[in-house]
Amino acid sequence: MARDVVKIRIKRYNPESKKIWWQEYDVPIIEGMTVLDALLYIKENIDSTLAIRYSCRMGICGSCGMLINGVPRLACYTQIGMLGTKTIVIEPLPNFPVIRDLATDFTLFFEKHRIVKPYLIRRDKYEQENPVREYRMLPEELDEIKQFVYCIYCGLCYSACPITGVDREYLGPQALMYAYRFIIDVRDEGFVERLNIVDDTHGCHRCHLALSCSSVCPKGVDPGYAIQMLRKMLLHRNLGKLKIRTRGSPVVEPLKHTPKYAKKPPQPTIENPQWENSI
């Protein structure tokens, strides 16, 4: 019995010869087959020179982002049947330098991610470097940052952003979203630093609210919302109305409602005399 065949049209690039060309492959499809499956079929059976990046094959690692039929998507998350076309056009992610074929360079993307200091900042630098206990957080406070924590650094939002396309220094939706994620995290005390970082010429005020970042995110994260909230925070800061909740100190004793059957939390491994005075 003849199997259905789909035509895969790929934009290829050879860095040695600097040549760009389109190449077409016929791939037999089965139900539930993803674009990544088709690319792996090509690589194993038709053309082993095709360069792609992938890892988990289940939408967790964020490695296989590419432009599929004109929309940035994860190849492992996109089923061929879902696209509804007999020809599938695949290109490398826009706004990223191409290394070879569909593999793109994420160096600048991660540099921008690092600029916003994507980690908990504490005023007490000793405590920051020598943490001994967890920081307390209410479930509803976790809910506020939860959607942003789901980010898998796939770069789809970055590639969909029209501003990133024209302004190379623009921090981009992912980095700005992460700045917001830590600013509203009650365990974090570095909001002044981060607000100053995003209040740059190429920070959150460059956003034109196209919201293509939010529409392409495979994890349902809404960077557009985060960027607007950053702008709101900065406006409130200029008007002297900014309020940020933070926790003053780490957990010093087990939570009141810890069930009796729960194990005792580990004891501090490093003693900090400053905490003793503050308790």
């Binding site: 302004d167 900065l234 406006l235």
Partner: protein
Amino acid sequence: MFRESLWSLIQYLTAALLLVVLGIHILTHIPPFVETYHEGLSLESVRTNYRELGWVLLILLYVALFHGLNGIRGLAHEIIRNTRMLTIVNTALVLLFIILAAYGTYTIMKWA
């Protein structure tokens, strides 16, 4: 100079102010404040406006100029990657503001 959020705040405030002064400016050119649309554009009517509402027109001049040129500044920051070119454009915009504001002020004062 300013942080970007302060530029934005000024942009919002000038937009709000523009709505008021531009509203007044348009009202002075349409019936019933003038008898006909044509009369609203006559030299005499314009000179009367300069005389009686000169301060509104001066505010409109400065606010509209700032708002428009600041918008161009924002666009320049997005599309110009060369820092030196950006400085040239920013300086040109400041000079343009000064020249146009001075010329507009002179015109309103002269005809008032």
